[in-house]
């Protein structure tokens, strides 16, 4: 337990009368890719919001590398090594792809309370940003303003931003959402390449992608963990088949 990257215990959250997170317990080990699946409205994105700090849980425990992150705001959790991508693409639209990533490098390395030297000429920032862009095969689009990138490219850019943060844990909220089959394949390939380097929590509807990538899968239904285990175990769990997977796996 002690070496878990992320440990969540008995996490609870309700919106008025609606229980969205109902005693969720989850453990992610180093380098592990843990997928959370479940039908719409199961509370997957709400869970990610609580881990990243944009929503405050009602109760439970959350440890990142043993440190209690519950009282911390999102920016301090990020400093502890928590990176996330968003379900709805979230980049800086008027910044170039390179500047988007360079900003993430800047967030991790050195002070940003520097007022006079032009940041765009800092080779140290640019080189690391370029390396991250290369990993997601976006290096040839480095100078393009983010607003002008295709949807799939924006998703890849989000990954590059997350990479540049050199996270301990990466939260991926539907990285394939809204992408075409070709672009999905590309993102799966990138994620496969990244697997093992740091722990990841993946929320995704694309079951092919989930079963191709995940080391462990948790099935979330009505805010509860219905089942948790290896892809093989989850696939053969009768409760899961009944509740959710059935038709999609045939």
């Amino acid at each position: 337990m002690a070496d878990a990257v992320l440990l969540i215990e008995n996490l609870r959250k309700r919106f008025g009368g609606l229980v969205v997170t109902d005693g969720v317990t989850l453990e992610i080990g180093p380098g592990e890719l843990h997928a959370v699946i479940g039908p719409n409205g199961a509370g997957k994105t709400t869970l990610i919001h609580q881990i990243s700090g944009t929503l405050t849980p009602d109760g439970g425990r959350m440890l990142l590398n043993g440190a209690d992150i519950m009282p911390l705001p999102p920016n301090e959790r990020a400093r502890l090594g928590l990176a996330r991508s968003f379900q709805i693409t979230s980049v800086l639209p008027r910044f170039s792809a390179l500047e988007n990533v360079a900003l993430a490098v800047q967030a991790r390395s050195g002070s940003s309370y520097r007022f006079l030297r032009p940041a765009a000429r800092e080779a140290e920032l640019n080189d690391q940003a370029m390396a991250a862009l290369t990993e997601v095969s976006l290096d040839h689009r480095a100078d393009i303003v983010a607003a002008h990138l295709s949807h799939g490219e924006k998703r890849a850019l989000e990954l590059a931003i997350a990479l540049a943060l050199e996270p301990k844990l990466l939260l991926l909220d539907e990285p394939m959402a809204g992408t075409g089959p070709e672009e999905s394949e590309r993102i799966v390939a990138v994620l496969k390449k990244l697997k093992g380097r740091f722990a990841m929590l993946l929320v995704e509807h694309d079951m092919d992608a989930v079963f191709a990538l995940a080391d462990k899968i948790s099935v979330l239904v009505y805010g509860r963990v219905l089942a948790s285990g290896t892809p093989h175990e989850v696939r053969n769990d009768p409760a899961v088949t009944e509740a959710y997977l059935g038709e999609e796996l045939e």
């Binding site: 990243s52 944009t54 705001p73 999102p74 920016n75 301090e76 990020a78 400093r79 990176a83 996330r84 968003f86 979230s90 980049v91 800086l92 639209p93 008027r94 910044f95 170039s96 500047e99 360079a102 900003l103 993430a104 800047q106 967030a107 991790r108 050195g110 002070s111 940003s112 309370y113 520097r114 007022f115 006079l116 030297r117 032009p118 940041a119 765009a120 800092e122 100078d143 303003v145 931003i161 943060l165």
Partner: protein
């Protein structure tokens, strides 16, 4: 808001450099040209232009780069001016003391009010900056020992280590020009710096900025303090130019005019703020010469600029040039 502000070019273009150089050379030559006309009048008009250009630069920094639409920036001008006037009333007229003091007072006011204003955003931010501006305005009006609503006349222009450096209008002119250039190049450096990148990023997507680890509020507050300090500098110069200070300097109309200047010149360009301040004040001067109701002409002109020249005067020149070169 995003519609108003153009994307900032990653690299400075040669065209910008030429425009900036032209602006500063033209301003440096004004006193020579003025010698052939009503020198005193022209010099004082252009000192006014440059003083408001400094304040407009600060407003462009906040609005055009930080996405923080401030409707109370005249308060900082007033604070700077009142610092000079009040110190003068107590016999302190040396700018070695009053200038840093004017800047410090406005920076402090920016820090305190910014801490509150920046908890809000959008329309609420506009309203709360307006409220603080009005507060400063009414407090100044109630300062009975310092003239109250009528304002107060300075005993004399500031001295520097006892020397009456501002006695000559030209000296005041060039010192103001120097400060304007300093403010422009400082802000330009800041906008492109690491800090500036975070400051601009906070306008684009504050949630994203927080999730990559930035405490957006702190950066915005520093930006607000920088802009406030520049407002104080403008106030210091304005008090010296007019040798008179009154609450009218802080009225919300003044704050509105600063925004108009920035939009007029071209939001998010910095040098547009200088162009905007000059066009606004010179137009006001010319139109007021024709008719007392000059605002009747000025209003529609502003509407036309906003409708047909999104990038302000600066954008207008660029798009006309682009059209001409296309043939």
């Amino acid at each position: 808001m995003s519609m108003l502000a153009p994307a900032m070019p990653v690299r400075r273009s040669a065209r910008t450099e030429i425009a900036v150089a032209a602006i500063f050379i033209a301003l440096a030559l004004v006193p020579f040209a003025a010698a052939y006309g009503a020198q005193g009048y022209i010099l004082s008009l252009f000192v006014r232009v440059m003083v408001f250009a400094i304040a407009a630069l600060a407003v462009d920094f906040l609005c055009g780069f930080g996405g923080l639409i401030t409707f109370g920036h005249a308060a900082f001008i007033g604070l700077g001016a009142y610092t000079v006037a009040i110190a003068g009333a107590h016999g302190v007229t040396d700018m070695a003391i009053t200038l840093p003091l004017a800047i410090l007072v406005s920076a402090l006011f920016a820090y305190v009010t910014g801490t509150i204003c920046l908890r809000t955003s959008g329309v609420y931010f506009i309203m709360i900056t307006l409220a603080f501006g009005q507060m400063a305005y009414f407090i100044a009006g109630s300062l009975a020992p310092y003239g109250g609503d009528d304002g107060i006349t300075l005993p004399a222009r500031s001295t520097l280590f006892g020397l009456a450096v501002f006695k000559d209008d030209r000296a005041l002119y060039y010192v103001t020009l120097g400060f304007l250039a300093g403010a422009y190049f400082l802000l330009r450096a800041v906008v492109y710096s690491r800090f500036g990148r975070v400051f601009r990023g906070a306008r684009e997507n504050p949630t994203r900025m927080a999730t990559i680890g930035f405490d957006v509020f702190r950066y915005q507050r520093i930006g607000y303090v920088i802009a406030g300090a520049l407002g104080g500098l403008a106030g210091f110069l304005l008090a010296n130019a007019t040798e008179f200070v009154s609450p009218a300097y802080m009225s919300w109309q003044r704050s509105g005019e600063l925004i108009i200047m920035v939009i007029f010149g071209g939001l998010g360009t910095l040098y547009g703020a200088i162009v905007g301040a000059a066009s606004f004040l010179l137009l006001e001067e010319v139109l007021a010469g024709f008719t007392e109701n000059w605002k009747l002409i000025f209003g529609p002109l502003l509407v036309l600029i906003v409708l047909f020249a999104r990038g302000g005067m600066v954008g207008l020149v660029t798009s006309i040039k682009a059209r001409l070169t296309r043939g």
